[in-house]
């Protein structure tokens, strides 16, 4: 176990012990260790790296340290700045988890139910990755989540850059109980008035957050960006259905004219209805 004080020291520590596993809040990692699924040869603790536990403004973006806890992200200052991210951080787990779990940990462990992930996808956030020898590279968070690009050995996510959109954003989550629980489905909806665009991402229904791009484009074209920015209920409902069908499509026959595939099971149909309701409510609240 090493406890480096800077990002570069941490990267060096990982390079020195390639088998070491970095640990920040440990809310996912330690559960795997305790259940015997994981037995890391060594740990590099990221908790003492002050530089990644804060945040700053940078060219119209917020540069968020990967070590920011979910509890910190849920506080009112963030809620005013990046409302959807704050809402997702508040919705994540019980207080004990939020006090320990970090933004970077959420991104790197990339659990399908990670609550901040659809928000990062909808915001088109970028991960700033620190590598050996002081190298830095930038990768869209969605690429990391989709596995299009991976963290290389010895690399760490240092920061997450989030554009400041100065417009309403929502994050809605459906769970199995009233108390804290894992998402059955979640929806992040953000408005980007500068680019006249609505962006939406659906979490927990697939291994990574899903972006219904066509539905986004369609609904963006309906909104009067210079005026009231409201939509009639039918349009909101249609958007919800559009998103849900894109995220949970009907099965297609394997070949042209082949056997029609079996219909979706009731559980999947319920999930689709849930996604439709979340997307509709999310956009409705963002435009209200």
């Amino acid at each position: 176990m090493t406890l480096p004080g800077t990002l570069d020291e941490a990267v060096a520590a990982l390079a020195a012990t390639p088998a070491a596993v970095p640990v920040a809040g440990g809310t996912d990692l330690m559960a795997s260790v305790n259940s015997g699924q994981l037995r890391p040869a060594a740990l590099v603790g990221l908790g003492r790296i002050g530089e990644i536990r804060g945040w700053e403004y940078l060219d119209g973006n917020a540069l968020l340290g990967a070590g920011l806890t979910l509890a910190r992200l849920g506080r009112p200052d963030f809620a005013a700045l990046i409302p959807a991210l704050a809402a997702s951080a508040r919705a994540a787990g019980p207080a004990q988890i939020r006090n320990a779990g970090t933004l970077g940990g959420n991104l790197v462990s990339a659990a399908p139910t990670g609550d901040t992930l659809p928000v990062l996808a909808a915001l088109e956030a970028t991960a700033l990755i620190a590598g050996p020898g002081g190298s830095r590279r930038e990768v869209p968070a969605s690429h990391l989540l989709a596995g299009m690009e991976m963290l290389h050995a010895g690399e760490l996510v240092g920061y997450v850059r989030v554009p400041l959109l100065h417009a309403p954003q929502t994050f809605l989550k459906a769970t199995g109980r009233t108390g804290p629980g894992r998402a059955l489905a979640s929806a992040a909806v953000v408005l980007d008035p500068a680019r006249r665009h609505v962006r939406c991402a659906i979490g927990a229904v697939a291994p990574m957050p899903l972006r219904p791009l066509e539905a986004e484009q369609w609904v963006s074209s309906l909104i009067d960006w210079d005026g009231q920015r409201t939509l009639p209920p039918e349009a909101l409902a249609a958007f919800g259905d559009y998103v849900a069908m894109a995220c949970i499509p009907d099965p297609q026959p394997a070949t042209e004219g082949g056997e029609p595939p079996p219909p979706l099971p009731p559980v999947a149909l319920h999930l689709r209805r849930t996604v439709a309701a979340l997307a509709r409510r999310g956009l409705g609240r963002a435009l209200a």
């Binding site: 459906a174 769970t175 199995g176 109980r177 849930t274 309701a277």
Partner: protein, 785 residues
């Protein structure tokens, strides 16, 4: 939050909802205000409450002995497999490993069990459920033990698991005893009558886990005489000792079971599957050996509530009067019988609920499968049928256009009526009063009535709930449980009360599992002897047996024994005085350590009268006998019955199917309130457990393999899920055959609450709701207009 309760300074042992309402304005209970006074009816605080609240209480997992070794158990990863070979050589050769035991090392009976000896201590040639013990290791470090257990090479030949209880009848036998554990064909009245109105339903109840706060743990210490002492949090020490001794091939007196650090129990705690390997390892190594189960092991190993499939047909006339109940009840027992026959007897006997039914045809079966083991979890059998017959009552009400509460009121049972088992209900059965009480209780306000309040919507504080999509529903349920053992079980408990100076001591093998027995024992002695300082000794198997802590047994049988012993001591104490003054002992009273005569002439203290002597007495209590159900399910099988009515108010987001229970109103038939605060805590805990069973608690299994055996995958109710609990009425009609007239209080709210929640969701959504826990897709209603 609503609530009329007082600030809760109680240290009650049960987990109660954070904002539970203590007592509704209508609840008239005897006794003194919280924490004041002594004796029966006072709200005495448990002696260990502060230690538990402060984290200072030593649980079984905190046990320690000099030079102890750590044990780990190798459990089967398959639900059904043939064991081709077990090779322990590599594990035994690991540094730090002191002993490895398998089925070959079990000297005594290879099979044990609570009712039927059908469960091997270690699987021999066949594993029958995921998590069945195969071998155990003792090592000088817990990690070494765990690694060594993993290093035992077991060659399995996986077999197709039998997971559908309906297939069990025709499948290859899983066990030499066959797949059918018990069949009760109950026939009552005329089986061929038909009603003007008939409703049918198929209901499924999930697998609730007791999920004890502390996972199982034990310490075994070898004795010089070749025996062993086992320190553990058993709830039924004598049965556990006898089972373990049979496996060790030792006479029971060479095995001593010391009860320690019980973290609360909702079923049988500490299965013998753990005590036997531990004792074997201690005797093999000659060292103390400790085991502390992981949460995952705990979920795999201990008994669960029987998942149940119920098919019902209710016949009634046009006025809503019940004519006949037909039911088929199938209990999934898992691989071994355990207490399944008891659960089945309760399910079949209470299949019609607390309603008068002139004719009944009920068939109940408990069958073996390769699913996780089922056993005693409070309210077993009764809870599953309650959800089904109350679902049927709702269906009948809808069919006839009646209010759900009206149709129930038309059919309620009362003292003197017959159960479908032919047994006459002789105890108080104030079912109509209970239903009336919950019906008349004011409903909680709607959000539109107090818009300024901060409403918790279904889905939680950061959830997606939308007020426009939320519908409120109200559901009613009535239910019953039996008290004590059934069908001729010998219920006996023995207690000793000693008085020495100003201090009295109670010795009784009744385990304090959170039900409050040790507090009650103190109150009984205080009441009878007027001595304030009463100690309750810890429990071990050197004391005479008191039976398992379940179904109000200890309040009735052990409490009765304590009272008798205390009265005998009272007579010993007063007899010389009475003789001296030429009056009978009845004319003397003891209070606050003083003895006074009726006329005030005599006044002395207990200490003076004792003159330094120690007085003691031992007494037994045995309730009136019961008889087994015969081949048509007839017989006086129950000592007593307890009833409750619950009204559930739920909010459902009918688009997402998310449910929040807003309020549960409970009216309960308690016989007599002995400790108001403890009683309230027990009812609140029971309701909360029932809400868990209704909404989220189900241990998921895929092809016999337990999925996610952890507290993330198994969702217990949190403080946000626990509703406001309003105890609107406690009916104190004393049961004359019970000591103090008190009835079992903990199980009946567990039985009735899930049915009430299901009824409320039915009312909110218009959906049938035939499955517990209620899944979101079953609670999606018609789209909002």
């Amino acid at each position: 939050m609503t609530g009329t309760g007082t600030a809760d300074g109680s240290g009650a042992v049960t987990a109660t909802p954070a904002h539970g309402t203590r007592l509704g304005a209508a609840g008239g209970t005897a006794g003194s205000p919280d924490g004041v006074g002594i004796g029966l009816g006072a709200s005495l605080t448990p002696v260990d409450a502060a230690a538990k609240a402060e984290g200072a209480f030593a649980y079984a997992a905190d046990l320690w002995a000099e030079g102890l070794l750590w044990a780990a158990i190798l459990r089967s990863p398959h639900p059904h497999a043939r064991i081709v070979s077990i090779d322990t050589a590599q594990a035994a050769a690991m540094p730090g490993v002191r002993a490895v035991v398998t089925h070959e090392d079990v000297p005594g009976d290879a099979a044990h069990g609570r009712r039927v000896a059908d469960r091997p201590a270690f699987a021999r040639d066949l594993v029958r459920y995921h998590g069945e013990p195969i071998a155990a290791v003792a090592a000088d470090h817990p990690d070494t033990a765990r690694l060594a257990a993993a290093a035992i090479a077991v060659e399995y030949e996986p077999l197709e698991p039998l997971t559908d209880p309906e297939q069990s009848f025709t499948a290859e036998p899983l066990h030499p005893d066959g797949n059918l554990i018990r069949h009760i064909p109950l026939r009552y009245g005329d089986p061929d009558v038909t009603g003007e109105v008939v409703v049918e339903g198929l209901y499924r109840i999930g697998r609730q886990d007791p999920a004890p706060i502390g996972a199982e743990a034990a310490l075994a210490v070898p004795c010089p005489d070749g025996g062993v002492e086992i320190y553990t949090a058993s709830t039924d020490p004598h049965t556990d000792r006898d089972l373990a001794a049979a496996c060790f091939g030792l006479p029971p007196e060479q095995v001593k079971l010391v009860v320690t650090g019980v973290p609360g129990a909702l079923g049988d705690r500490e299965d013998t599957g753990m005590q036997v390997p531990l004792g074997l390892l201690a005797m093999r190594t000659g060292c103390p050996v400790k085991i502390a189960a992981t949460r995952e092991e705990s979920f795999l190993a201990h008994a669960h509530r029987h998942p149940t499939l119920l098919r019902y047909r209710h016949h009634a006339d046009r006025s809503g009067k019940l004519l006949k109940v037909e039911a088929q009840i199938l209990l999934d027992a898992g691989a071994y019988a355990d207490t399944s026959s008891d659960a089945l007897a309760a399910a079949v006997s209470f299949a019609a609920g607390p309603y008068v039914v002139p004719h009944a045809v009920v068939d109940g079966w408990a069958v073996r499968t390769n699913n996780p083991p089922s056993g005693h979890v409070r309210g077993e059998g009764a809870m599953q049928v309650c959800t089904a017959y109350e679902g049927q009552m709702d269906k009948l009400a809808a069919e006839l256009g009646l209010e759900p509460a009206d149709i129930r009121m038309r059919n309620v049972l009362a003292t003197g009526d017959l159960l479908p088992t032919g047994q006459t209900v002789t105890c108080p059965a104030p079912v109509a009063e209970l239903l009336h009480a919950v019906r008349e209780a004011p409903l909680p306000p709607l959000p539109k009535d107090s818009p300024e309040a901060d409403w918790l919507l279904p889905g939680g504080p950061e959830g997606a709930g939308e007020p426009g999509a939320v519908r409120r529903g109200v559901g009613y349920a009535l239910g019953m449980v039996h008290m004590l053992g059934t069908e001729g079980a010998d219920e006996v408990s023995t207690a000793t009360v000693k008085v020495n100076g100003p201090v009295a001591t109670v010795l009784c093998a009744a385990v304090e599992t959170g039900q409050g027995f040790s507090t009650l024992a103190r109150q009984i002695v205080q009441e009878t002897l007027g001595i304030e300082e009463v100690h309750v000794a810890s429990v071990d198997t050197d004391q005479p047996p008191a039976g398992a802590g379940a179904r109000g047994r200890h309040t009735w049988v052990s409490g009765g024994a304590v009272e008798r012993a205390a009265k005998m001591v009272r007579t010993q104490l007063l007899q010389p005085l009475a003789a001296k003054f030429g009056m009978s002992t009845e004319l003397l009273t003891i209070a606050d350590g003083k003895i006074t005569s009726y006329d005030g002439v005599l006044s002395t203290t207990v200490a003076e009268t004792l003159e330094g002597k120690e007085l003691w007495a031992t007494a037994q209590c045995r309730p009136h006998p019961t008889e087994p159900l015969d081949e048509t399910g007839q017989g006086d099988a129950f000592v007593g019955l307890a009833f409750a009515a619950v009204r559930a108010v739920v909010d459902v987001d009918i688009e997402l199917g998310s449910i929040r229970v807003v309020e549960m109103s409970v009216a309960q038939d308690v016989g007599r309130v002995l400790n108001p605060r403890q009683l309230h805590a027990r009812i609140e805990a029971g309701v909360t457990q029932g809400v868990g069973a209704a909404l989220s608690e189900h241990l998921r299994v895929a092809k016999g393999v337990v999925r996610r055996p952890d507290l993330t995958g198994y969702a217990l109710p949190t403080s946000l899920d626990a509703p406001d609990i309003r105890i609107v009425k406690l009916i104190e009609e004393r049961d004359v055959v019970a000591p103090f007239g008190a009835k079992a209080a903990s199980a009946v709210p567990v039985v009735v609450s899930p049915a009430a929640v299901a009824g409320a969701v039915r009312a909110a959504t218009g959906r049938p709701v035939v499955r517990l826990p209620i899944r979101p897709q079953a609670a999606v209603g018609a789209p909002p207009q």
